[in-house]
């Protein structure tokens, strides 16, 4: 009987000690913020366009960390969905956007028509539009994320979204057809 009692007491003591250590660790090594949300945020394209329904990439990252779907980011497209699926170990879903994946765009202000109302400047999430009241505005192309947010507030509709075309500098090689994936005539030639 005493043996059982000793065993129970020993286990109880062990439990208490372990519990105390865990409790201390939980307080002492508390992680500030949500590390998962940070990792998700790093994968998002940071266009801050709000097309996911959240006011910026970070809120969407936090929402994903909280269990929202991963397929709401049109600028990121399939690549981002795949990266998020890999990170969170969930099934990749097709992009949830009406127009599907869009190419990289950049805003362009038709400067002759700009009336200098500064509305687009206030709308731009990354301060990529330069101008002042009653002065012509222009887009700093290198800073524009192509988020579309400046188009709607413009009272004279002088902002166009232009596709960022491939130039000689930005052109890149395509991956060749994987070995073994031969069309019929090639097979004959090989054989």
């Amino acid at each position: 009987m005493s043996l059982v009692l000793i065993a129970v007491l020993a286990l109880l003591a062990l439990c208490l000690v372990c519990g105390a250590i865990l409790g201390f660790a939980a307080v002492r090594f508390k992680v500030e913020g949500n590390p998962i949300a940070e990792q998700i945020n790093a994968l998002l394209p940071q266009t801050q366009c709000g097309q996911c329904g959240y006011p910026g990439c970070k809120p969407y990252a936090e929402a994903i960390a909280g269990g929202d779907k991963i397929n709401k980011c049109p600028p990121g497209g399939e690549a981002t969905i795949q990266a998020l699926a890999d990170l969170l170990d969930v099934e990749a879903e097709p992009l949830d956007a009406v127009e599907g994946e869009k190419p990289q765009m950049v805003a362009y202000i038709r400067e002759a028509e700009c009336i200098g109302c500064t509305k687009c400047i206030q709308a731009c999430p990354v301060d990529a539009i330069l101008g002042a009241a009653k002065q012509m505005h222009t887009v700093i192309v290198s800073e524009c994320t192509g988020c579309d947010l400046c188009v709607e507030p413009c009272p004279v509709d002088c902002i166009d979204m232009i596709e960022v075309g491939s130039t000689v500098q930005s052109w890149k090689w395509d991956k060749p057809l994987a070995p073994g994936q031969l069309i019929a005539s090639d097979r004959e030639q090989v054989a």
Binding site: N41, L44, P45, Q46, T47, Q48, G56, C57, P125, V126, D127, A128, E143, T145, S166, T167, V168, Q169, W171, K172, W173, D174, K175, P176, L177, A178, P179, G180, L182, D186, R187, Q189, V190
Partner: protein
Amino acid sequence: MSAMSKNDMDAARASRADVMKIWDIPGGIHPAERKELSNRTPIQPAPLPKRLVLPLNQHIGAPAEPLVAVGERVLKGQLIAAANGFVSVPVHAPTSGTVSFIGPRPYPHVSGMLAPAIVIDSDGLEQWCPLTPCPDYRQLEHSSLLQLIRQAGISGLGGAGFPTAVKLNARPTQKIHTLVINGTECEPYITADDLLMRERASELISGIDVLVQLIQPDQVLIGVEDNKPQAIAALQAALRERSYQLRVFPTKYPSGGEKQLIQILTGVEVPSGGLPADIGILCQNVGTCVAIHDAVILGKPLISRITSLTGEALARPMNVEALLGTPVGELLEFAGLDRSRLNRLIMGGPMMGFTLPDFDVPLIKTSNCLLAATAAELPPPPPAMPCIRCGECAEACPASLLPQQLHFFAIGQEHEQLKAHNLFDCIECGACAYVCPSSIPLVQYYRAAKGEIRDLEQKQLKAEQSKQRFELRQERLRRAEEQKEAERQARAERAARAKAAQTQAPAAASGDAPTTKPAGLSDQQKKLKIEASMAQVALKKAEKQLAAHATPELQAQVDELRSAAAAAQQALDTAMAANPPAPAATPAADDGALKKAKIDAAMLRAQLRKLEKLEAPSAEQQGELQQLRSQLQAAEKLLASLEAQVPAAPTKAADAQAVDPLKKAKIELAMQRAELKKAEKAGSDEATLSRLREALAQAELALHRAEEASNKPAPELLRNDKKPIDETTRALKTEAAFARADLRKLERDENAAAEALEQARSRLTEAERQLTQHQSP
């Protein structure tokens, strides 16, 4: 004697060549050289084309900025596009002519895309712009010599096209101890550098002199493969007494790669991801050296280059010195192109070159070869088969990479693994693909993977930048909001404080009011006293007006007022006599009593003074004067007794407070008047009204007292009627005024009927009669 010494020198040079150690590079291949096709004829000048196309980006870096406009005439050698930024190179007109177009034009690139260019229609005059040769460059400063090279638009002519001036602008922390001159030209078919070394050896050595002057290296190594004996001989002859070391090594592809050549000549490997400058070595192509010679010694910018025209589809393969911007089609025609035999047109060599989309693309600074190959010569690559993991590629790789692993990682898009396996050290020489038994286009995999990784890194960078900008913006907006909020609060606080001060002032005034009330007086007495003072004040004011504007009406009014005041005073006196006020003897009341006494005395004094000022006082005024004097004496006596009771009376404070009570009293009066008016309008009962009237009268009295006490001149107010007007009087007066107005109007109107005039007159008389009748009792 001279022959002897020459022999001695040769022997010395040979012995030195013996001790000159040559290292080997890993891997490498030995493809068919095919250099004999084009190296048998001397360099020919290419015919002047009718139209030259000069892309703005013939180098690595930012495209140049055009300086000319369409229709502008340019001279040979004139600067037509300036360098745009540090890593950029200017462009010069290769011949004289007219600028006919600036915009997208065919460009020698594997994508076949157009690129911005300046098109010049040549006029055939070949008219040079003024040149500034600088043969005594040794006198120049380092920076101005570098500037000469930069201005001449020189970029690496070996193939990569990196701006030479940028490469020469060595970091001050890293001393360049070895200058390597690359005359290797290891790729099959190409013989441009071979012919250049043969025919322009002296210019080449002179260009090296400039470089030596510029970077002051400890040693200069000229590397040439042993398949160019004529070039070696020419260089040896041109070197003469110079200490530059000509090093000849066995032919192997790709020993002409910058890093490979450095390893062959010095045995030192350029660290992974690093530059030759990191180990104190600088490498320049022989063509670049000649261009530097032309730029510095002759003052000529880079407007032409030597290019191999080769391949079996050409009838006369050769090397030409062609102007930059010459369409390749014209050059190939010059070399006798047989279009029916042409299968692939390649710019560059068969290993690293790329297929040109058409014949319109121009020759640019990096174009060292045009290979017009027949189908038999360069058959299309057989279809790729799966990798059999033979490992041939790893043995061929000059950079000691694992091409097979990289290939699999590239298929799987394992970017981390690719980077870990040093994909970016791959020089894309094509040796691995050349030896691959499965004909896998390995280099294309690496190029695609590199592009993908660079693209992702670019995106990552941009995302990071956008994020930072977004966060900074959010922070800025938050700060602005906070500041606005703080300002709003401060404003609200200020407003609240002002309001509190305002409410405090009337409160103080109302708090003061009781103290101004004569203590110990009964209500009846108070009322009488107020009435008496009111009458006095009204009288005084009327008198003042009388003095200013002496009219019979005013005189009558004054008399009336005087009698009213006397009556009021009398009533008060009798009331006071019947029930004398309790003496303000309590110490608490001292202060107030003293003040009151002082005020009374002051008031009396002022009244007295005013009366004394009157020039011709009437009998009543004389009496009043007497009365006032006696009152003043009594008041002064009282004051003296009170002051005796309160020895340390704050006499000074009275002065300071004098102004403030005036304001308070005025406010009080206005408030009372407003209250009374409101009550009148609301139709309150008589009791309330009379109470309010009394309060108003008291306030008025207080104001008058304050006015007197403050020693300020009384407001110069013109009062026409002291008596309150009752409703009937007002109505009658109005009627009379209307009637008068009507009459005047009719009188002015000449056409007015006499009847109407008469009627108006009678109306006016009636109204006036009624008014006098009403006022008379």
